[in-house]
Amino acid sequence: MNESQKKELDEIVEKYRKLPNAKIKILQETQLKFDYLSGESMRHIAEALGVSYTEIYGIATFYSFFNLSPPGEHTINVCLGTSCHVKGGDEILEELQKTLGVDVGETTKDGLFSIKTVRCLGCCGLSPVIDIDGKTFGRVKKAKVSGLLEPYREVKE
């Protein structure tokens, strides 16, 4: 972490420290800023708040929202809710893993995509569903998976 990043972090801490749910809120904002929570940043937050590192680390590992390692440029969330499960969400996940050659929680070598699973995106009426960078795609079919990724590849090239 360089000085300017530290400064940004301090700003986040100062902005939210008075909130009732300060710890979670600060971690959320930190992740939005830096894409993930590094050990260093969590230590910094703990110090700034005057609490133990374990407490911050404990919160970060408890909630599925937090990444502890850097994600890819595009994050693909595969919904594995009940409706998606019964309509073949697992197969969509498999297809994605096959297409990208990475496992859940990993990032492709080119740093472009990472795959995550989510317990329900709340779009059960359109199952199976995946979400790429917050944009939801419904009624996904196995054959359509690689097509969905195309636009995200092009941006980079």
């Binding site: 979670i24 909630y63 599925s64 009940t82 409706s83 329900c120 709340g122 009426g125 795609f137």
Partner: protein, 1050 residues
């Protein structure tokens, strides 16, 4: 500006009402999350550009609304012209939208072919800002006529899909904040609580605790600060009611919380929302800002001395935070771990202060109760469950979406009526309610009225309202495994029963799904489940065993099949089968093997490989019900492989070349087996036993072998030459046949038992079920099988011109289509509706093409002779009632009858075992009037006598009968050689080798279809209707196979 008086509220309302019914044409987009995911964003962009290009962007209003629940019809677009009623279009794309804009929005004429329905009746129970009352369009259904909406009653969702959720004025126009105004200005907190209590409102989060009572407990606590909390951490996978509610109508939530806070004396409110719901959060933020701006939140609300504010807390993703103590821990910024109760939140909640938590939907109900009174509210629903409940009806359902129904509606009405039944015509298996805390409800419990107590009584829970429909392709062991892996992931990890217990239970289901389960596992799971439920700290652990308990209770046979037979019938548990087609085929045909051989153009070997499992591929390739195709994985990609056509192709190809498949045989063993009945089941047993080296004699009462294949299936579906050819091939293996020989009269069963080492009885179901009505004995009243037999043997008497066929099965259709070919004019009369006809759908379609007339909902009452060779068939007209648990519409008689004139009547209403033809030995016939056998297919009266086929199973498909014969061959071999020969025969199956490479053929490819005779060509002849695939098509079709046997295995 601050709202202080009713007048000011009404001023805003009148402004809002003008936006709901504007003076300019308005285009309304459904822009909930599901609408956006279906592409409504692109539609809005297009509309904006398009209107701009026409230079009329200011003449037309574009607006967005939340979800109206019809997710299956997204994207939805409404058109509202001044003075005309609002009209909804479904599944809109850019091309459709262009026409809608041109023709309707600008031209004033609705585009009828895309129109879904018009909003002629406002669903809201409140009298304010209604959208109905304008001129309707003629000939377009109304919302209430849509089956999806007909059974619904909308209180919670009254504004969803109607108002712009980001515009508070529209909410106020619809009666919004009147209830809060009334409560704060005219009612004491105690009266508010009394009204909520009297209304009988119970928590909509799942547990169903009386809301009024909960408020009262919190009210009674003395404290300087109290909190009200809204639980919007909708965690149940498969549930999204709360998301849609907030997205569609955020102010309802805020108003409910204001009233609740006033009643309990709370000063601060929190809404805990999942971070996965960004749109809901954005709309809530906007709504809170608007409300604060107008003095509806903050200090001195609406000019009273009551102050209250609301903060949004974003959850960071932990299912356990749905538990109230965990949720409070999370709001406090800690790990969301639950704690023991007592103390209850009402005494010591958030930061130790008295707190009250209610679900989003509970809050939504509050303003309506205050506005319309408890008496009105409690008139809806059942004794203990008042009002309505919103469900997310999803999974394998035709009309998925949000459904709001009054308590007491039965499950079957929701699934079949509102939801339109299971997708793709598949069979219903279970509906899962209550998410990971709920259970799987089977068909025979679909009569249950939906309320808190009703669902609990059958082992599930109401939960927050997820309702996931599962069909025959879903494996219940897999479902239990899914939920356990979910709850074991989401367990907070504090207490032992939940953290360790669920993990152990998950491991047990995992090993069962891999075929490594042990006999005692079911009991172990039940025991473990009971204890986890009793000993866990919080609701997550206590309810996590419900999916195990209900799947075991209602689907124990699936567990047993996995454990004992290592079989997953639904083709889900990948370790237990190589490909779904093979797993689904009753005879276990190696489908991918022969398809691969077709790809390699080794057609003879393909036929040979087919014959390893099925003695008559050419026959089955024509008439099979092909359940394999329903399960084909290619169907998930584009369309299933045409398996039946390929089977027929390789058979026909070999036969046309004059070749015979060389069946591999074992050496003769010198033991004798008698087979009674030469239908598909008997022939199949004979075939496999002969190949194992046994000496076989088939006894057949008719003149020729083949059973129903010969005497019932018409020539145009199965040419006799094909049947003869495959039967001749069987006989060529050295099988002896004694035809015209009836066991019982020509030879006694005891003689066979004495003379042979084993006997297989497969006498089929040959007797027509009687009509049991007056006039059944008249001349020219025939039974279905009898008629087909006469047609097939050329002994048909004169029936006259007009024939009525009674029944809806394949025999009825076969009879009708045959008679049509003979120049008769034919009417099929069936007692139910067309959807409920048991005949194959393609046969019904063909019958219609050929000009057969169908009459439905007619039950025959009497047949009378009207003289001159005319018969009068008198029918009672039926009408459909509610759905039965199996998804068929129940029928009841009406007052009226109808008489159809004809010259002959054919009754094809089903077949049964001719009990008089079976033997009189003790215990031959079971309770269902079929031959009863034990698990090894042995008749109870002799260990040497086996039985199978339709005489045991009742009427089923030909492939089922063949599978029964094959199974019998195995069982008889177990008796005679300890099963050793069967094993050796199976090993021969492996001798035909084919390529084992993954095909990489996942690009879209169209399914090949065979050519059929045109309808005129079918007239007055029995030529085969469906032709075989040509070479090119067949190979192309075979190349589509995904070779699941290679990909799926571990």
């Amino acid at each position: 500006m601050s709202v202080r008086e009713m007048k000011e509220l009404e001023d805003i309302a009148s402004r809002g009402a003008k936006k709901i019914k504007p003076e300019k044409p308005m285009l309304v987009f459904g822009a909930g999350t599901c609408g956006v995911a279906s592409g409504c964003g692109d539609l809005i962009d297009f509309a904006r550009e398009y209107l701009k290009s026409k230079g009329i962007e200011n003449e037309v209003i574009l607006t967005s609304v939340g979800c109206n629940g019809m997710c299956h019809a997204e994207p939805l677009v409404d058109v509202k012209l001044p003075g005309r009623v609002r009209l909804t279009y479904s599944s809109v794309d850019v091309d459709k939208l262009k026409r809608i804009i041109d023709e309707h929005l600008l031209g004033g004429q609705p585009v009828r072919e895309f129109a879904l329905a018009q909003l002629t009746e406002d669903p809201s129970p409140l009298p304010y800002g209604r959208v109905d009352g304008d001129d309707p369009y003629e000939g377009i259904p109304s919302y209430k006529d849509l089956p999806f909406l007909a059974g619904q009653r909308r209180i919670v969702l009254r504004n969803c899909g109607i108002i712009d959720p980001e515009d508070m004025e529209q909410y106020i126009a619809r009666g919004g904040y009147r209830a809060a105004f009334k409560a704060l200005h005219e009612m004491s907190p105690e009266t508010v609580i009394d009204e909520v209590k009297a209304a009988g409102l119970r928590g909509r989060g799942g547990a169903g605790f009386p809301t009024g009572l909960k408020w009262e407990l919190c009210r009674k606590e003395k404290s300087d600060e109290k909190y009200v909390i809204c639980n919007a951490d909708e965690g149940d996978p498969g549930a999204y009611m709360n998301r849609a509610e907030i997205e569609g109508d955020p102010h309802s939530l805020i108003e409910g919380m204001i009233i609740g806070a006033y009643a309990m004396g709370a000063t601060h409110g929190f809404i805990y929302v999942r971070a996965e719901y960004p749109l809901a959060i954005a709309r809530l933020k906007k709504a809170i800002a608007q409300a604060s701006e107008h003095g509806l939140l903050g200090k001195n609300i609406m000019g009273t001395d009551f102050s209250f504010d609301i903060r949004i807390v974003e959850g960071a993703g932990a299912f356990v935070c749905g538990e109230e103590t965990a949720l409070m821990a999370s709001i406090e910024g800690r790990r969301g771990e639950p704690r023991p109760r007592p103390p209850f939140p009402a005494q010591s909640g958030l930061w130790g202060k008295p707190s009250n938590i209610n679900n989003v939907e509970t809050w939504f109900n509050v303003p309506v109760i205050i506005e319309l009174g408890p008496k009105w509210f409690s008139s809806i629903g059942r004794e203990k469950s008042k009002g309505t409940k919103v469900f997310s009806l999803v999974g394998k359902i035709n009309r998925a979406g949000l459904v709001e129904i009054p308590f007491g509606t039965r499950l079957k009405e929701v699934i079949y009526g509102i939801g339109g039944g299971v997708q793709n015509g598949k069979g219903f298996k279970a509906v899962q309610t209550g998410g990971p805390s709920g259970g799987c409800i089977p068909t025979d419990k679909l009569d249950t009225p939906i309320d808190y107590e009703g669902l609990t009584a059958i082992g599930s829970i109401l939960g927050s309202g997820g309702m996931v429909v599962m069909d025959e392709d879903n494996c219940m062991v897999d479902v239990a495994k899914y939920f356990l892996s979910f709850t074991s992931d989401e367990s907070c990890g504090q207490c032992v029963p939940c953290r360790v217990g669920i993990t152990r239970a998950k491991e047990i289901t995992e090993r069962i799904s891999k075929g490594m389960g042990r006999k005692e596992d079911i009991a172990l799971l039940e025991d473990l489940a009971r204890q986890i439920n009793r000993d866990s700290l919080c609701g997550l652990g206590q309810t996590a065993p419900n999916p195990i308990l209900t799947t075991i209770k209602y689907f124990r046979n699936e567990y047993e099949e996995h454990i004992e037979k290592h079989r997953c019938e639904a083709s889900v548990c990948a370790s237990l089968f190589s490909a779904p087609c093979e797993n689904t085929c009753p005879a276990g045909t190696n489908v991918y093997g022969y398809i691969q051989l077709i790809v390699e153009k080794r057609f003879d070997e393909a036929y040979e490989l087919n014959k390893e499992d099925n003695p008559m591929p050419a026959v089955i390739g024509r008439i099979c019900e092909h359940t394999c195709e329903l399960r084909c994985n290619r169907g998930k990609l584009d369309e299933p492989i045409a398996i039946r056509e390929l089977k027929r192709y390789c058979a026909d190809k070999t036969i046309a070349a004059g070749k015979h498949a060389t069946a591999k045989m074992l050496d003769d063993v010198g033991r004798k087996v008698a087979i009674i009945g030469g239908g598909p089941s008997g022939l199949s047993a004979a075939y496999f036993l002969r190949r194992m080296g046994y000496d076989i004699t088939v006894f057949e009462r008719m003149h020729e072998l083949g059973g129903l294949l010969r005497y019932a299936v018409p020539e145009y579906r199965l040419p006799r030459s094909v049947l003869d050819r495959e039967i001749d091939d069987l006989l060529a293996l050295g099988i002896r046949a004694k035809t015209d020989c009836r066991v019982g009269s020509d030879v006694s069963i005891n003689a066979l038992i004495n003379d042979y080492d084993a006997v297989y009885v497969s006498i089929g179901c040959q007797k027509n079920r009687n009509l049991d009505i007056e006039g059944e004995g008249l001349p020219n009243v025939y039974s279905g099988l009898n008629l087909l037999e006469r047609i097939n043997t050329g002994t048909l008497p004169d029936l006259g011109k007009e024939v009525i066929v009674l029944g809806g099965g394949n025999v009825a259709i076969d009879g009708a289509r045959s008679l049509r070919r003979l120049g008769h004019s034919v009417t099929i009369a069936y007692r139910r509706t067309e959807e409920d006809m048991p005949a194959y759908k393609e046969e019904i379609r063909a019958a219609k093409d050929e000009g057969i007339n169908f009459e439905f909902l007619l039950v025959p009452e009497k047949i009378v002779d009207r003289g001159n060779g005319t018969l009068g068939a008198i029918f009672r007209k039926m009408r459909t009632e509610e759905y039965r648990v199996d998804g068929k519409l129940a029928i009841t008689p009406t007052e009226s009858t109808v008489e159809l004139k004809c010259n002959s009547v054919v009754a094809a209403i089903g077949q049964e075992l001719d009990v008089s033809q079976a033997f009189s030995e003790k215990n031959t016939i079971g309770k269902n009037n079929l031959i009863q056998v034990d698990e090894q297919q042995r008749c109870l009266f002799s260990p040497k006598v086996f039985a199978g086929g339709e005489a045991v199973t009742g009427p089923k498909s030909a492939i089922e009968a063949i599978a029964q014969g094959k199974k019998a061959a195995e069982n008889i071999d177990v008796l005679l050689s300890g099963g050793e020969r069967y094993e050796r025969l199976r090993a021969l199956r492996e001798e035909i080798k084919y390529r084992m490479e993954e095909p990489h053929n996942e690009e879209r490819m169209k399914r090949e279809t065979p050519i059929e005779l045109s309808v005129p060509e079918r007239h007055d002849n029995f030529r085969e209707v469906v032709k075989v695939l040509d070479d090119e098509k067949a190979v192309r079709e075979a190349r589509r196979c995904l070779r699941c046997d290679l990909a799926g295995g571990e």
